[in-house]
Amino acid sequence: MIRVTRRFRFSASHRLHSNRFTDAENSELYGKCNNPFGHGHDYVLDIGVLGPVEPATGLAVNLQALDRLVQECVLNDFEHRYLNEEIEEFAEAIPTSENIVLAIEERLRRRWHSIFPGDWPRLENMRLQETKRNRFELTT
């Protein structure tokens, strides 16, 4: 088994604000991220894929296929967007990095088997870096 980790990048803006709380509570809870006009990040997304190396090709995953999948499911929609207003998942959910990772996982999972029909490779983990000082990791 080998794990292949591929890095992608997108830049997007968001605002952390919940209708369940008052303005003062939102400001207290989310701090600067509650700024009414939003703000942006250069997100770094690492996708970890696990699988055996196919003897014929020497590959655990067809990177062309993985790149296309992430491009179509994630980057085409997320790149240079205001997540709160332009990504359907965040009409309700708050676009924290936690929720962004979960939305990306769901998007990839929905199409995974049409791109990789066999048992392998498997989507193993996802890591989202919001800034250089924080990152969020999900092992699926």
Partner: protein, 146 residues
């Protein structure tokens, strides 16, 4: 406890299967199938596991680890065209996956079972945006103790 030593080497390679057309190889390997080859600055991270020796306070002498990595990996591969100059890549496609496995196999012989320091993981960066992790093959008796 784990310790990780980093090393770098630069090499060229091409990824293509001899029986396939250029177009088919491009579908599988993308730009890496270019018949003339291309190069990368590879970064290798070798991780050992073990407990610090009560006498020396070390899991393994890092200088010795550096020498092993240099002798078995960096010296033979740095500034080489892997397909033409570094066996087994005259027969085996030098994908990042196969390169990591080959590097593991070369290093594993220096950390036999029963020794206090064991080879735990090999991480090979082909670029900043692509790396592979390999921790041995349980079937081949070279697996890491995880």
């Amino acid at each position: 406890m784990l310790i990780t030593r980093k090393a770098e080497f630069s090499a060229s390679h091409l990824c293509a299967l001899p029986g396939l057309s250029d177009e088919q190889n491009r579908e599988i390997y993308g730009a890496a199938a270019n018949p003339k080859g291309h190069g990368h600055n590879y970064t290798l991270e070798v991780t050992l596991s073990g407990e610090p020796d009560p006498g020396t306070g070390m899991i393994f002498d890092l200088k010795k680890l550096k020498d092993i990595i240099s002798r078995t990996v960096v010296d033979p591969m740095d500034h080489r065209f892997l397909n033409y100059e570094v066996p087994p890549f005259d027969r085996v496609v030098p994908t990042a996956e196969n390169l990591a496995i080959e590097i593991w196999n070369r290093l594993a012989t220096h950390f036999p079972k029963g020794e206090s320091a064991q080879l735990y993981n090999v991480r090979l960066y082909e670029t900043d945006d692509l790396y592979v992790d390999y921790a041995g093959d349980p079937g081949a008796g070279t697996e890491a103790r995880r």
